[in-house]
Amino acid sequence: MGKRPPKYSAGALVKHGLTRGDWPRMWRRPEMHDSYDVVVIGGGLHGLATAYYLAENHGITNVAVVDKGYIGGGGSGRNTAIVRSNYLTPEGVAFYDRSLDLYNTMATDLNLNIMFSRRGHLTLAHTDSALRTMHWRAEVNKLQGIDSSVIDPQEVKKQAPSLDVSPNTRYPIMGALYHPPGGIVRHDAVVWGYARGADHHGVHILQETEVLDINVEGGTGPGGKGAGGRVSGVKTSRGDINSPVVVNCTAGWASLISNMAGVPLPITTHPLQAAVTEPCKVFLPTVVVSGSLHVYVSQTDRGELVFGASVDPVGTYRVNGTLEFTEELAGHVLELMPGISKMRLLRQWSGLCDMTPDYSPVMGFTPVEGYLVDVGWGTYGFKAGPVAGETLAETIATGRTADLIAPFGIERFTEGDLVGEKGAAAVGH
């Protein structure tokens, strides 16, 4: 509740500069209540977006977002900030394209500059079979009105002159899927924007509040949990909260939280490593992805090159970096762009990815009444954040699964109706 906060604008900046007045906090640190209408576990992009759209679109403001650390400290602050919608399945394309639409107007909607740079997205093909998949994706995309086409090496050179497109390399570039609407966004700003927006509506953002258990009654599993049960609240490190609806938006930790409700997930947790170089003059105008070489790269507004890779093959919750990753990454990047051999890496980090067998998310209702999931976001959670929040909020508010996420329900695994997105999501983001 409370009054509408002052808008961010050039005028406000001048005024604050002259008066040296304090900027108001972007969100409060509220006292925890005993009960809420909805409790969202996980204060990342997905959790905060869900809370924001619950309040903004559906007027449900008695909502708490709980996080064991600080908001945006997990995958939301560790991803490589790439957005695109050139997926492989019609379900995936429709879903991610809605997300791109929301990103497009987000700076205005949230009154915060998210630094969305629609710079174009190239997915390189180094083999005949990769080129074939590119054509497949381009046709699926075109059918749904997405700007996406296959271009030849000469055109690739025009889009990204620093790439080595000669045929004499170890992995020659045979063409690329070109997706002009793709680009990069400042990921922290998106988290802050949703947090600020949700907070203005009265949503409680409870940081440093760890969920220890989920209270479920009447289920068929041990302790009354599991299928057929009903959620009554959560036990946290700061006390109990009663709530008829509990939403799991905890990405890499999703299985640990879901096991508390007795709902097993088709997920394994893998770290994904990324790295950034020292800044240099801007020379790379587009996002470049190579599935075969397990690398994607873009240049930030500060001039740093941001690299990401595929997930580590061994599932673990440990997030330390490895030398193998750095060596492989450097080798593959130099294969694409020999000109940057003298650049130095500034730092390297990793985040946890909740991988599903079909590279599509798991969203919506579960066999436990009142317990919803928004998990299985693997390596594509950032680009989906806005639409995931919007559709999940609709699902909670109306009690009916939103159309866009109907293909992603957990029941697809028992029904054998998977949404195979590996061809477009495995490395290419």
Binding site: W253, S255, L256, N259, P264, L265, P266, I267, T268, T269, P313, V314, G315, T316, Y317, R318, T322, L323, E324, P357, F413, T414, G416
Partner: protein
């Protein structure tokens, strides 16, 4: 780097082997319901704790074996050929 003790080849870098994931009991194919079968195929506990898992020594003896690994620290104990 994770060093995995293969019963035949000794300690090896995990990159030489394939992690086949946590050990899930296989239901009887003739008796299992569709739901039991698909839960065996897809559902995992995925704990941040000790887990019994299968490895395949693809770069060496090509045998499968199980070990216990703590997925929070990558510590390893116990091994047996399977």
């Amino acid at each position: 780097m994770i060093v995995v003790p293969c019963p035949n080849c000794g300690p090896r870098n995990s990159g030489d082997l394939r992690n086949c994931g946590e050990l899930v009991p296989r239901p009887d194919p003739s008796a299992a319901s569709l739901i039991e079968w698909r839960e065996y195929l897809y559902m995992r506990k995925n704990p941040a704790d000790w887990v019994t898992e299968t490895w395949y020594c693809r770069g060496g003896c090509r045998r499968y074996f199980t070990i216990e690994r703590n997925t929070a620290t990558n510590e390893i104990r116990g091994q047996e050929a399977s």
